[in-house]
């Protein structure tokens, strides 16, 4: 009888101790001390800011344009980029650890951006614009890295490139790099304003404008001495006009507002973007801040003007009267409704043709392509409902296309030269893109 109460008491004591111990040891939310919660939210704010900044810079670099397949998951790659040397299969840059760049540290990411060497030590093909991205600061590279690590990982294996011999040999890139690659972050020019330098940083670096607006030679390199002098875009068959010639897209006599409108809105009172530049505006430039676009405009406007070729002679500008008359008739019937009797256009909805450098520049490729395929400027935040131009390739034959393009290149004191039906025919064979 005496045993039972003792056991009961003992059990009660054990139970009580256990209850107290459980109460003390049970995991529970940490008491929110004011100091630590502020620190936590400061950390997450800093992370949010870093990722937001990285997203903005990734827009400026237009990563999405190449690293996303049409209709595919964002940044998951698997898109064939045709080059004169064969197809480059653009890699997955989502943070999937197996198939993407999930294992890249910020250091390795910066080395890739800055030197064109991947995490596993491979030399990158210069389809990746590392010759431009080398100008990007470490700080900005870290922000882009943080952003890319934050997007949804997608498991999608990269495909091997389909490059022809000898370009399939990465060792050759050593030679290419010696010739065309200069490693180094952007160096501010102390003689210029902060705004000009910001513009220069964006144009030369993330904007990688030189990839199209500097002629590419047979080795796929662009020579620094010819920077921004324009050239045909390989495999897209659009001409990227010179940014340093007032006869092409040189912006010396444009107002800053006209330049920022073209870059950010896609349409301006001087001209309109189509084709590859429409893609850049749609995916990249429309998202940049007014201040950054203005900085780019200031920098571009100040590029030294150096015409690489003399203006056409009056002999070169001679047009047979019957061609001119045919062109005028077609213009009045098909074009004048939108572009006006004197080629003045109805800007910014319909661009002017009179005095428009993209019409009169020495390469007529873009004008011919527009007549054949038409085009819609990109729908942007500031111009979501753009006015478009219809294709005429099923209405006008080669002679008629040549006549009307000749007409708009020489009428209204335009300084262009005539084009031939053969030139129209060459471009007619290509798919619109």
């Amino acid at each position: 009888m005496r045993l039972a109460p003792r056991i009961i008491v003992t059990l009660l004591v054990i139970a009580g101790v256990a209850a107290i111990a459980l109460a003390l040891l049970r995991p529970r939310p940490l008491a929110p001390s004011p100091a630590s919660s502020a620190a936590a939210s400061a950390t997450s704010d800093a992370m949010t800011q870093l990722i937001n900044k990285g997203e903005y810079l990734a827009r400026a670099g237009d990563c999405v344009a190449c690293h996303t397949a049409p209709g595919g998951r964002e940044f998951a790659g698997a898109r064939a980029m045709p080059t004169p040397f064969g197809n480059i299969w653009v890699p997955n840059i989502t943070p999937d650890e197996e198939t993407g760049i999930g294992l890249y540290t910020a250091d390795e990411f910066y080395r890739m951006m800055h030197t064109g060497i991947s995490r596993d030590g491979k030399l990158l093909y210069p389809a990746m614009p590392f010759a431009s991205y080398t100008k990007v600061t470490r700080e900005d590279s870290d922000a882009i890295h943080a952003y890319l690590m934050s997007v949804p990982p997608v498991k999608q294996m990269n495909r091997p490139h389909e490059l022809r011999f000898p370009y399939n040999n990465r060792e050759l890139l050593v030679g290419w790099r010696t010739l065309y690659f200069r490693e180094g972050e952007y160096k501010s020019d102390p003689g210029q304003s902060a705004q000009w330098n910001r513009g220069g940083y964006l144009v030369q670096g993330l904007g990688h404008c030189a990839m199209c607006h500097t002629a590419v030679n047979v080795l796929g390199g662009s020579s620094e001495s010819k920077a921004f002098e324009g050239g045909m875009i390989p495999n897209q068959n659009w001409y990227a006009p010179s940014l340093t010639s007032n006869r092409e897209a040189g912006l010396g006599n444009w107002s800053i507002k006209e330049i920022t409108d073209l870059l950010q809105v896609g349409v301006s009172h001087r001209s309109t973007v189509y084709g590859p530049m429409a893609e850049v505006v749609y995916n990249s430039l429309q998202y940049l801040s007014d201040a950054d676009v203005e900085a780019m405009a200031v920098y571009l406007k100040a590029l030294p003007q150096r015409d690489s070729e003399p203006p056409p002679t009056s002999q070169a500008r001679l047009v047979r009267p019957e061609v001119m008359e045919s062109g005028r008739r077609i213009y009045e019937k098909q074009c004048a409704m939108c572009h006006g009797e004197e080629g003045k256009g109805q800007p910014p909805a319909y661009p002017p043709l009179a005095g428009n450098q993209s019409i009169t520049m020495s390469s007529p490729v873009n004008s011919i392509r527009m007549v054949l395929n038409g085009g819609y400027p990109p729908g942007t935040k500031k111009n979501p409902r753009s006015h478009g131009m219809p294709p005429f390739n099923h209405i006008l034959n080669d002679e008629e296309v040549a006549a009307v393009v000749t007409y708009i290149r020489v009428a209204w004191e335009n300084s262009g030269t005539p084009v031939t039906p053969g030139q129209a025919n060459e471009l007619r064979k290509l798919l619109p893109e």
Partner: protein
């Protein structure tokens, strides 16, 4: 030859953008067959009118009418179609259907390079607005075409459209595209006012897997059960019909459809 009849228009359609002067420059073997189908269209009395209707024209710069000028040389000022048999009438088709096509052209899931290029950089809300613009237009129909196939083929076409073919598991076109074949909101297109070349080309592309719709893709199931002759019969018969008095699409999902259709959304 039978094969050419159906495949010919499809191939020609694919390459139409490369052959603008197709009647005088490059006449492929299938073009001769296509020409038979096209003949009526090219000789139609409204040709001059159709050409005029394909010229750019608008009243107000800040209007949808001005904004869709990019469409008019192929689809006509009011979306009524043009003299070219490969470019469809788009006026009055359900807005949901037109929107789905514009998005598919932009994203490359429906492939036709001239359209892929034109709408590549246009945002969803604007594509929606363009679709709604053409969906509410009711331009007059072009004169119907005189059928060039024999009466037996036409009878087969009529039977497929009205009753389908139970033995081959083909439902009637009218079961989904509407009793008057004017389509059904929101996603099923009308079949009235389309030329035989266009209808045959689309059915063929579906059958060979070049055209798709949202899953479940009912047209994939149907087109793979159609023979070349069936396709020629259906497209000739459809194109030979007088236009309906009211071309508006039927209301959404009032009837149970024989095949589930991804473009109609959940019931």
């Amino acid at each position: 030859m039978k094969k050419l009849l159906a495949i010919g228009p499809a191939l020609s359609f694919i390459s139409a953008h490369r052959l603008p002067r197709r009647r005088t420059t490059r006449r492929g073997p299938w073009n001769a067959v296509g020409a038979a189908l096209l003949g009526a269209a090219l000789l139609a009395p409204d040709l001059a009118l159709a050409q005029h209707e394909a010229l750019p024209a608008f009243k107000q710069l800040n209007s949808m009418e001005a904004r869709v000028q990019g469409c008019v040389t192929c689809h006509g000022q009011s979306g009524q179609g043009t003299a070219n048999g490969y470019f469809p009438r788009i006026a009055g088709k359900p807005a949901g259907y037109l929107y789905n096509q514009l998005v598919a052209f932009r994203d490359g899931t429906r492939r036709y390079p001239p359209m892929n290029y034109l709408v590549a950089y246009l945002p969803d809300p604007y594509l929606r607005e363009i679709a709604e613009h053409f969906a509410q237009l009711r331009p007059p129909f072009a004169a119907r075409e005189q059928p060039t196939v024999d009466p037996g083929v036409l009878a087969r076409g009529e039977a497929l459209v009205a009753q389908g073919d139970a033995l081959k598991g083909i439902p009637a076109c009218a079961a989904c595209h509407g009793a008057g074949l004017t389509g059904m909101n929101p996603g099923i297109p009308g079949l009235v006012g389309l030329r035989p070349t266009y209808i045959a080309a689309q059915l063929t592309r579906w059958r060979v897997g070049e055209r798709h719709a949202a899953e479940p893709d009912c047209m994939k199931r149907i087109s793979t059960r159609l023979s070349d002759t069936d396709i020629a019969a259906v497209s000739s018969w459809l194109a030979s019909r007088d236009p309906p008095r009211d071309p508006s699409p039927e209301s959404s999902n009032l009837v149970r459809m024989p095949f589930a259709c991804g473009s109609q959304g959940p019931r």
